[in-house]
């Protein structure tokens, strides 16, 4: 059974490492500031007792007021997982740092979110439309897409 790590415990660890990076944490997930996302991901990946080497998925949800980007990591070695979230409140030009340099598996998923949700990922090497064509108007998965 994959053990879902408690967000609170990990949050405590992270708070020590990067003060002020966690906004809130619950049993299931933890919500991080988007600026410190890259640091957190790097720590999650390199810390020996966490060792999150596998990125399950990235997705984004449109809550009208803000976009929530959800990451789930798994450690194949320790068999535990963690859900990490971040939010961006800018509707016009939402930006989140890209984690492609750490997890190459994020490549297509970040492009997908850019295409369908319109969130751009800072530092992604090839951020362009993936499913729809260049010149398509709007981002279909946004709730206000006509």
């Amino acid at each position: 059974m994959i053990l879902a790590l408690s967000g609170k415990e990990v949050a405590a660890q992270l708070e020590q490492q990067f003060p002020g990076s966690i906004i809130e944490s619950s049993e299931n997930n933890l919500l991080a500031k988007s600026e410190s996302l890259l640091d957190i991901a790097e720590y999650l990946k390199s810390s020996p007792e966490l060792d999150f080497d596998y990125l399950n998925y990235i997705t984004a949800v449109d809550y009208y007021d803000y976009f929530e980007v959800v990451y789930q990591f798994t450690s194949l070695k320790h068999n535990h997982s963690l859900v990490l979230k971040t939010r961006c409140y800018d509707r016009e030009n939402p930006t989140v740092p890209s984690i492609v340099r750490l997890y190459q598996g994020a490549d297509f998923q970040e492009r997908e979110i850019y295409d369908l949700m319109g969130i751009s990922f800072n530092g992604h090497p090839n951020l362009k439309r993936i499913f729809l064509w260049e010149g398509f108007h709007g981002h279909p998965l946004r709730k206000d897409y006509l």
Partner: protein
């Protein structure tokens, strides 16, 4: 853990080609909002033909319908029913149809197995244009007829008849191979009524 940065891994080609593709899609989308009427005039036509022409027609039509080579245009789910129809149990090769020509120039029949999206539409139109006359199209499956379950989607073409003229519609989601074979038989009937020589 240090992430090695392999040289050249993140170098992608330029987006110029993508933009050109996007423009092609947009222009096609603007032009193809109405269905193309089905090529069915032959149904009403009754013409007097002499015996010689009829027998030539008969031979040509026999040849055409006995060796219908399908072009490869299998976007989605129905493709697997088409392959199943080609495989051992249903065996389209009985009708001389087992030669799937990968090059559209050598094919006679386009079986449009699957959902057509606007991004795909220019390629399908291109395949159709590349096929040599005489050519036929079978719209297979609900998506091919009207967009089916995905009709309300933002990227789905509601039916192949927006892009290419369709001769036979085979309903089903996906149609069973028997249904497809029935559709092919109908196409055979249609071909056998065609006239090669005006008279």
């Amino acid at each position: 853990m240090e992430v090695a940065e392999p040289a050249g891994i993140y170098v992608y080609s330029d987006t110029e080609l993508d933009r050109a593709e996007g423009e092609a899609i947009e222009s096609l989308k603007a032009h193809c909002q109405q269905p193309i009427p089905d090529p069915d005039e032959w149904l009403e036509e009754e013409v007097r033909r002499n015996i010689l022409l009829t027998s030539i027609d008969f031979m040509l039509n026999w040849a055409r319908r006995s060796s219908l080579w399908p072009a490869i245009c299998f976007p989605a789910c129905c493709a697997f029913e088409l392959i199943a129809a080609n495989a051992s149990r249903f065996d389209l090769s009985r009708f001389g149809m087992e030669i799937l020509r990968a090059s559209p120039r050598q094919a006679d029949l386009m079986i449009t197995a699957g959902t057509l999206t606007w991004k795909m539409a220019p390629q399908v139109k291109r395949i159709y244009d590349q096929m040599a006359e005489p050519k036929w199209v079978i719209a297979m499956g609900a998506c091919g007829i009207s967009g089916g379950i995905f009709r309300s989607s933002y990227n789905v073409v509601p039916g192949y008849n927006r892009i290419v003229p369709v001769d036979v519609y085979v309903p089903g989601c996906p149609p069973r191979p028997e249904a497809l074979i029935y559709g092919i038989r109908m196409l055979h009937h249609k071909i056998s009524k065609g006239r090669a020589i005006e008279g």
